[in-house]
């Protein structure tokens, strides 16, 4: 097994507040790492530092052994790193299919071929497959803004997979999604992980979701790593119970 993502000693301060305080971890290929912790413990800030939305105050991020600290998000995406955001980030005026084509188009050809080539960048077929995979068939031509919250969440996740990423960071994919759709989402993520050997890091508060999907779980508290381990180990860890899971 090789590490797809290596994070060493990441630190991020905003003024006097240190949101992330020296976090290090590796993610192996094909792994699904769950990232849990109380609100404000620095999970999303850590994501933003890894993905180039924020520049870390200190520390280093490697993807496939290559240092990517300070790279722009679009460059990182070009390396096969993709993400979803905590808040919904679909393009409401574009149709579901257009959203997916948009999400994949920059991985097709170059600037010039995208200008002169076909309007769909040759992605209609791939988009339709993704639509089918996430069971959004009947909504393919609807503007994304007209979908329900849960459906938009599914689309949001689907968009992250259009470029065929090696590593996907999902920030609360299950938030606000109803139970049936949640089971679907988990099922889809597991299938992509299995079939495409895609590696995931998932921030989530839904314990049931995390514990059943993830192969390993990392717990953060106050900007630091509190514990790392298999889901059953984490569930039994007294420090974690104290800080987060409760009695």
């Amino acid at each position: 097994m090789t590490a797809v993502l290596e994070v060493s000693n990441i630190r991020k301060s905003f003024g006097g507040i240190t949101a992330v305080n020296g976090v290090s971890f590796d993610v192996q290929e094909g792994e699904i790492l769950g990232l849990i912790g109380p609100n404000g413990c620095g999970k999303s800030t850590l994501f933003n530092c890894i993905l180039g939305q924020l520049t870390p105050s200190a520390g280093e991020v490697k993807v496939d052994g290559k240092v990517v600290t300070g790279m722009r998000p679009s460059e990182l995406n070009g390396l096969g790193v993709s993400r979803t955001f905590q808040l919904l980030q679909v393009f409401p005026k574009l149709s579901v299919r257009e959203n997916l084509i948009l999400a994949g188009q920059e991985h097709q050809g170059n600037m010039l071929s995208r200008l002169l080539g076909p309007s769909d960048a040759g992605l209609t077929e791939a988009a339709n497959q993704m639509i089918g995979f996430f069971k959004l068939d009947h909504l393919a031509d609807e503007p994304a803004g007209g979908l329900s919250y849960g459906q938009q969440k599914l689309l949001d996740a689907a968009m992250a997979f259009m470029g065929g990423p090696r590593l996907v960071l999902l920030d609360e994919p299950a938030g606000g999604v109803n139970l049936t759709m949640l089971a679907d989402l988990k099922d889809r993520l597991a299938a992509i992980n299995r079939e495409k050997r895609a590696t995931f890091v998932v921030i989530e508060h839904n314990m049931e979701f995390v514990m059943s999907l993830c192969t390993r779980v990392m717990v953060m508290a106050e900007g630091k790593v509190l514990a790392v381990g298999r889901p059953d180990e984490i569930r039994a860890n007294p420090a974690v119970i104290e800080a987060y899971l409760g009695h």
Binding site: S74, F91, L94, I101, Q105, Q108, L115
Partner: protein, 331 residues
């Protein structure tokens, strides 16, 4: 759906035919106004790309029309062909537009408006003060009209066809651009740059491109403007032209393909139609624009768009109701 498409294509053909045939009976002045409409539509289409699609505010489009007009005036007055001037104007405006795009990578909205406003003023000062190049406030007169495939376009009707033909070519190019992946990337840039970036869209490059291409179209319009008026001086390229073009884009419908056509029509033709109101024209125009923007901030085409999507929603919910009723009555 196909019926609607046939209707659209039929309507398009009628409009194009009308634009070709009807002006044959127009007098010199009517043809001038219509040619001006075509030229301003091209400039507004450029701004619509930068502002409407890519969401980057610019108050400098008039300056690019000026750069194009002076390029054409200077080059054709010294005997060079207009097509050469067109090439130079496109390259020049593209390059300057690209550079002007850099501030947009750091500032947005009204800050960006101020940066482009400063550029607009700078360009005006160059037109007015650099006598050696632009002949200053005296302007450049006797600008020749081109020969197209050996056919002279000195008379108003042939030159109107030059403007109309150019508008046709520009429209096709812009239509191609906005339906290409670039167009989608521009919309993504406008709607949500953070998400766009995370999807691998190089927002920096697309922002610069949106500025450069939009400005180049301003240059194209300018290259036609010079032989149309056959006289170029700094006054028409003052900030007010940039504001007029901005108005055309917003009134027509920013971010809609046909917005500039409609906006330019209102800005160029309406003053002529409202001539009988004498001094009240501007007041009426201002009130109409204020009312429009209160009712529909997305312009005239925004109203149409809203109407169509409302109808579609109603049709869809009617279909759902029917389906539900069928399910309930099924044995």
């Amino acid at each position: 759906m196909t019926a609607a498409k046939t209707l659209k294509i039929g309507f398009g053909i009628v409009v194009i035919a009308a634009l070709i045939i009807v002006p044959m009976n127009f007098n010199r002045y009517g043809l001038f106004i219509l040619s001006q409409w075509a030229v301003m539509t091209i400039a507004a289409m450029g701004l619509n790309l930068t502002l409407g699609y890519a969401g980057q505010v610019s108050l400098a489009q008039g300056a690019f029309v000026g750069i194009g007009a002076y390029t054409a005036a200077i080059m054709t007055s010294s005997g060079l062909p207009l097509i050469g001037a067109l090439g130079v104007a496109i390259v020049l405006c593209f390059a300057i537009g690209w550079i002007l795009g850099y501030p947009a990578l750091r500032v947005q909205h009204h800050y960006l408006a101020f940066v482009t406003l400063a550029f607009s003023t700078l360009a005006f000062l160059v037109f007015r003060n650099e006598d050696w190049l632009t002949k200053g406030i005296y302007g450049i007169s006797n600008i020749p009209r081109p020969e197209i495939f050996g056919y002279p376009t000195r008379r108003p009707l042939p030159f109107y066809y030059v403007c109309l033909g150019s508008l046709g070519i520009v429209s096709l190019a812009v239509w191609w651009l906005i339906r290409s992946p670039w167009g989608r990337a521009f919309i993504a840039l406008r709607e949500n740059p953070v998400r766009a970036l995370s999807l691998g869209i190089d927002t920096r490059r697309y922002t610069l491109m949106a500025f450069a291409i939009g400005s180049a179209l301003g240059g194209v319009a300018g290259t036609l403007y010079a032989p149309l008026t056959q006289y170029v001086d700094p006054v028409p390229f003052h900030l007010s032209l940039s504001l007029d073009l901005l108005m055309m884009v917003i009134v027509g419908g920013s971010g809609f393909f046909f917005g500039p056509f409609l906006g330019a029509m209102i800005a160029v033709l309406l003053p002529e139609w409202l001539r009988f109101t004498q001094g009240y024209y501007l007041m009426l125009y201002a009130i109409a624009v204020i009312l429009l923007l209160i009712y529909s901030p997305t312009g005239i085409l925004g109203i149409l768009d809203r109407y169509i999507s409302e109808r579609r929603t109603k049709a869809a919910s009617a279909l759902r109701a029917v389906a539900k009723a069928k399910l309930e009555t099924a044995p």
